[in-house]
């Protein structure tokens, strides 16, 4: 590298500067090349594939169909069904945030064993998604599950067929996702709570504010950056839900009632060799995520407050 014979491109650049330039490029090249190979190329490849009837075996370019996959997708009832399922699962996002904030407020004080408690809530976050999903399959089991055993003990009646019913399967997956994500949200809310200066509360108390008012007018606005972050990551992750469904309801549920967009995409691309159609679905999904995220950033000024 030091004995490079390439002429400097710019007249003004002397040998030492050029050398420095080369070194600079050398240092940034690994991530840049990594990006090209592992991100840019697959994205471009998938986009081209989405314009074809590639099935993994045939000649991709010989089966070029233009926008046909996209047009077909918009008229595909099953696509709208799985998109609706995916959106329904997002009900879990606000539920998770409210629960997390309430628990975080409860844990934001000196109690004996608080560290143990915080750790316990965090365990699901660091556990393998597949492992805990299998565990929850047993919780939701119709005859032998924990939930139905409790329901039976309390009411005497048999609980629902959680994973086998078109309605309850959605409830089951929402419960699971809230449980799985709770620990992470609590930690973030805790750090948010701890960064609120004490004197805000003291000043408000002197003015006679009640506990609820403190929470409503100080805590909630000042943890809004955390709420915003959770909302964005929750929505992006929510559009991509897949493993939960694949593990807990591998067939997609009765009448495909549990399937998500990514599940359908996977089914099409890898189950039925419709790679082109699957790629088109992936692009539509990416565009949807982009739009929702952009809207979120646009309206954040209206409700996200930062501590000045």
């Amino acid at each position: 590298m030091s004995e490079t014979k390439v002429k400097p491109v710019r007249k003004k650049m002397n040998r030492a500067e050029f050398k420095e330039h080369c070194w600079g490029l050398a240092f940034v090249s690994p991530p840049f090349i990594g990006f090209l190979i592992f991100m840019a190329f697959p994205i471009a490849f998938a986009f081209v594939a989405s314009l074809t009837k590639w099935n993994g075996m045939n000649d991709m370019m010989a089966n070029f169909v233009g926008a046909e996959n996209y047009i077909k997708l918009l008229g595909d009832e099953k696509f709208w069904k799985v998109l609706l399922n995916t959106v329904i699962y997002m009900i879990g996002i606000p539920i998770g945030m409210i629960l997390a904030l309430v628990i975080a407020v409860g844990m934001n004080r000196k109690i004996r064993g608080i560290k143990v408690l915080r750790t316990l809530y965090y365990v699901p976050v660091v556990s393998s998604l597949v492992a805990v999903a299998i565990l929850w399959m047993w919780v939701f089991n119709y005859d032998y599950g924990l939930l139905n055993s409790i329901i039976k003990a309390l009411t005497g009646a048999h609980g629902p067929n959680w994973l086998g019913d078109e309605f309850w399967v959605k409830v089951s997956i929402i419960i699971f996702m809230v449980w799985k994500g709770l620990g992470g949200s609590i930690i973030l809310y805790l750090s948010g709570l701890q960064s609120i200066p004490r004197d805000y509360y003291e000043a408000a108390k002197i003015d006679g504010a009640s506990g609820f008012n403190l929470f409503r007018h100080i805590t909630i606005p000042l943890v809004s950056p955390v709420t915003f972050y959770l909302l964005i990551t929750g929505l992006i992750g929510g559009f991509q839900v897949f493993v939960e469904v694949l593990v807990m309801v591998p067939t997609g549920g009765l009448n495909y009632s549990a399937a998500t967009v990514v599940f359908y995409l996977y089914d099409k691309a890898f189950g039925n060799n419709q790679m082109g159609y699957g790629s088109a679905m992936a692009f539509i999904l990416a565009i949807l995520i982009f739009i929702v995220t952009a809207i979120n950033f646009k309206v954040q000024d209206k409700w996200v407050k930062t501590i000045e």
Partner: protein, 463 residues
């Protein structure tokens, strides 16, 4: 200026990456330095099978050390196999030898992935007459228009049968005579027997023992076919489930659950699958594939005496089930097609290997022997003298495989369609019929157009 920097960085990156990518695909190791050939093999297998194949390949290398330098075998799981193979195809980097199912032969040939073995087999004088299941063999033929006849493009590594089985201990306890494989039950007889087994054994008011358990994805076909019906038309392009024969078969199938209540309900099936219930001794009848035998003979998995029997017969009077097979093929781009063909013929027909795989040597049985003489000779002897732990009604397997006046085996209809989505769609809402919330007519009316649409698309995708 800024632009220039970006461009130069881009060019540098592109050059570097092309060097890296060239490194991936550039090495062709078909030939060793001394002129002997190298072969690569990619298959899926379980542990026992892997060990047998590795031994067979080591032996092949030893026997052919004049011409073969090295055989590199890569083994994966069945779930991972097709994804990895698609990746290899896309990268244009197929191994010399890999697996193909009959459903893919046509597409693999048409897209130029697999070699025609016929000229090599003819030239080398390799005969396939001794293979046990000629129907499985024929499924790897393709004549340029349709599969089933013409030149061979693969050799079957096995032929499997999805037969029926009964729990002997439960029959003994109930004092009911064992099923006679020579005279399969009619549907009515089957229901009557099943009703005797279905009861509440612990007195808690809930049924906990059943006549049988039915898994929709695998066990409806015997009913449909035995009633003279089929899911698809003869050319596999039209969904034919609205025929009276099909509807009657489906009605009889769901009646086992709804009307006669001799199977677990949909909810009970959700709590504990019908397969687990069979293993737990809660069902008198269940299916047994050739690949299940080793597990069912193992007391830890299945602590009951059992034997094979036939599925009940419907209006055609014939007991039917489906067959399966996987074959070895040779890559069309392989530089060593002759050597590769020799290898696969060896893997399919080597006696020692087949004895290991079928359990004649006393190990686990994971498949029927692939060679007719072994299947009819040593295999049967090994069962009779107890070397091989195997149910005594082994003929049930061979009857389905070879066909008799009472038995017939067929490949699943998804074997002949470009993908199986039409069948998945059929299964998606079937439990609604099984739990009584929809009638057979309503369901078929609803699901048939969706299946047809999917099937049309599938055919369109390969045209």
């Amino acid at each position: 200026m800024k632009m220039k920097r970006i461009i130069s960085a881009g060019v540098a990156a592109a050059m570097l990456s092309s060097v890296i990518l060239a490194g991936c695909g550039g090495s062709d190791s078909g030939e060793a330095e001394d002129g002997r050939k190298n072969l690569s093999v990619f298959i899926f297998a379980n542990d026992h099978e892997s060990a047998v194949y590795e031994d067979m390949i080591a032996k092949f290398e030893e026997d052919h050390k004049d011409t073969i330098a090295n055989v590199d075998i890569q083994i994966t799981t069945q779930e991972e196999y097709s994804k990895t193979l698609t990746g290899m195809m896309t990268a244009g980097d197929l191994p010399d030898v890999f697996y193909v199912g009959p459903e893919s032969v046509e597409q693999f040939v048409e897209n130029g992935y697999i070699a025609n073995l016929q000229p090599i087999l003819d030239e080398k004088g390799i005969s396939t007459d001794g293979l046990v299941a000629q129907e499985a063999l024929d499924s790897y033929r393709y004549d340029g228009e349709k599969a089933g006849s013409g030149d061979l493009y693969a050799l079957p590594k096995d032929a499997s049968v999805f037969a029926y089985a009964y729990n002997k201990d439960m029959f003994d306890e109930a004092g009911i005579p064992y099923p006679d494989p020579e005279n399969p039950y009619t549907y009515e007889e089957f229901v009557e027997i099943c009703e005797q087994f279905t009861k509440d054994t612990d007195g808690d008011g809930e049924t906990d023992q059943w006549g049988c358990g039915m898994a929709n994805a695998f066990m409806l076909q015997p009913f449909v076919w035995s009633n003279g019906a089929a899911y698809l038309s003869d050319d596999y392009k039209t969904v034919n489930i609205d025929t009276p024969e099909f509807k009657e078969a489906l009605q009889k199938y769901v009646d086992l659950t709804l009307e006669y209540e001799v199977t677990p309900t949909v909810e009970q099936d959700a709590s504990l699958g019908v397969y687990q219930r069979w293993l737990a001794g809660q069902e008198a009848f269940y299916a047994c594939g050739t690949w299940d035998v080793a597990a069912f003979m193992d007391d830890e998995t299945f602590p009951f005496e059992w034997d094979l029997c036939a599925y009940p017969t419907l209006s055609s009077g014939k007991t039917m089930t489906w067959l399966g097979t996987v074959g070895f093929c040779v890559s069309a781009n392989s530089n060593n097609q002759e050597e590769a063909t020799e290898l696969i013929s060896y893997l399919c027909t080597d006696e020692d290997g087949q004895k290991e795989l079928s359990g004649i040597t006393g190990g686990q049985s994971i498949q029927l022997p692939n060679i007719k003489s072994l299947a009819e000779g040593e295999f049967v002897t090994a069962i009779e003298d107890g070397t091989l732990a195997f149910p005594s009604n082994v003929d049930v397997f061979f009857n389905y495989l070879n066909g008799t006046d009472k038995y017939e085996g067929r490949f699943q209809e998804t074997t002949y369609t470009p993908n199986a989505e039409w069948h998945d769609i059929f299964l998606e809402g079937l439990d609604n019929v099984k739990n009584g919330s929809m009638t057979v007519d309503e369901y078929i009316e609803q699901v048939q157009p969706q299946m047809q649409e999917s099937l049309d698309e599938a055919w369109e995708s390969v045209e």
